[in-house]
Amino acid sequence: MDRHGQRVSHSFFTAPDHTGLADLHRAMVIGRRFNQQASTLARQGRLAVYPSSTGQEAAQVGGVLALGDQDWLFPTYRDSVALVTHGVDPVETLTLFRGDWHAGYDPHRYRCAPQCTPLATNASHAVGLTYAARRKGRDVAALAIMGDGATSEGDAHEAYNFAAVWNTPVVFLVQNNHWAISVPLSTQTAAPTLAHKAVGYGMRGYHVDGNDAAAVYAVVSHALAEARSGGGPAIVEALTYRVDPHTNSDAPQRYRDDSEVAYWRERDPLTRMAALIRREGVLGDEEETERALAAFDAEAEKVATAVRDRMAGEDELDPASLFSDVYAEVPPILREERQELVDGLREA
């Protein structure tokens, strides 16, 4: 797709069919709305913090929808839209940012690791998990997401290398959104692209328009299929842009120009996909199309409303829960501390 949503063909990757395109768009619409809702909640102080991914929906949605039924997702703090697309309960997704607990969901239930804050550190978990799955005879691949900045960490290197040497089916989706908080890509690397990194590990590197959900989907699907069939892991660099601040407490005017944001807004992934859908009649004739698009909006609105409603109250947090999952069993020292805490609270 070009920047106006005009289809460009590619001989190598398979573009999604109409249903696929519709699914991608629907997920993006919901994702965008979710980002907005969460940002609002953060502004209202109902979330401790929220790192919005507005502008990056195509990369996250395209990557996640390429996953198979048994596959795992290893996301970062930035990837709430990926989680929601992957099926994680939106409210559970926000538990971390709400400050109620750390991971709000059961990773096994959703085949989704906790959102990871220490940069690049869960990439090796993805390698280990897929390795284990293979040992157990299960066909499980993983999508490990990281940012452009995170690729500078030693942990990224080690994960890439373990994956390549062990030939585990992991696709490392690098969302190159041009900034690591205030630090531009040019400070992170002197390489032409981040996909070039793949060369040093003997794996495939793909560079894809990260604001084109269809392209991301096609490339990640391809990479996953390759990886699954023993072709080795891959790095997929999705070129995109973080339109919002790093988090609600960031001050982007200190480090970047509004014109840059404007440039990327023009390449908005939702606008582009909508244009393609309309142009190609992906959802039927004009009337059908508009009805379907409106339905997506309505569904997104419903998700947002549900989030808002379900988060209107305050969850009762049990102080004793602090001690329950530090170890498999509560050891004597924590039993003592728990008692002391509970007694102290009772007195007060």
């Binding site: 940069l119 992170q188 602090l322």
Partner: protein, 348 residues
Amino acid sequence: MTRTPPTSPAPSEVSMGAALNRALLDAAAEDPDVVVYGEDVGALGGVFRVTDGLSRELGADRVFDSPLAESGIIGTAIGMAMYGLRPVVEMQFDAFAYPAFEQFVSHLAKMRNRTRGTVSVPVVVRVPYGGGIGGVEHHSDSSEAYYTHTPGLRVVTPGTPADAYSMLREAIACDDPVVFLEPKRRYWSKEAVELPVRTEPMERSVVRRTGSDATLVVYGPMVETALEAAAVAAEEGRSLEVVDLRQLTPWDDSVVTASVRRTGRAVVVHEASVFGGYGAEVAARVSERCFHYLEAPVLRVGGLDVPYPPPKLEHLHLPGVDRILAAVDRLQWESRWVADADGTGVDG
């Protein structure tokens, strides 16, 4: 925390963040070998704005962003220091210094010793540490014990804006590597002080408030809390002395032991988990050196022995005035405690 001398014109209020900023500026202005770098310390001025404006004032060659890799940051700083620079680097949050742990322990701490004193590495590593700011996981660790158990590192932490200024200047001028722990929740704490200011040498502990009944031993973020507790206790007729340790390693215990020998009682307070925390060293040393002066066991008040809790529960983890005073109450003020010392077990 007011130190206005009665005769001079009232100096203006300075926050700890501003004091640190000024210290960096003054140090760099005086010594061209001082460079400041890390993640987001340039245009953004740091996520806590401690380096705000420095890049503009001192030039982007003196204050700049590096690739996003903490081990690389400490490693390059060591190399720079070997060639005569005095790098001041920032770890964005306590937990994000861990990737550099090997550089801290195996190089930064040991370079002088390994080379029989021929190579000194005057690196200052600024680490915003501790909780109380509602941060999500990995943003509130109190990591001092990891550093203070590592011979060769100097570990200091200011509790007031004046000390923040003075100690940072001293740290930069110091030929030892200094882990400079900044109590991030106190960045906004203010004190009336004229900068530049020179306080006591950083290796000396300081009595922040005199008292006769018991000694509160504190540092960093807990200085303010302990002073509050002492004020409340005073109203209740109990006279608490507050000692601010300032330099944690190498530690000169003379001020604390002198105080405890006078008061006969001590409570050590810190945010870090109690088990194996820095307070263990203080309690062990004080118990040994003041054995015959102690009217009660040295008590510790600190974080629970659990991973740092989510924002909504951190108040249960962090020592506050109440928990400090509760510990003071347990210092065996009644004679029955002493009478029980026949072995039937008051603490059994």
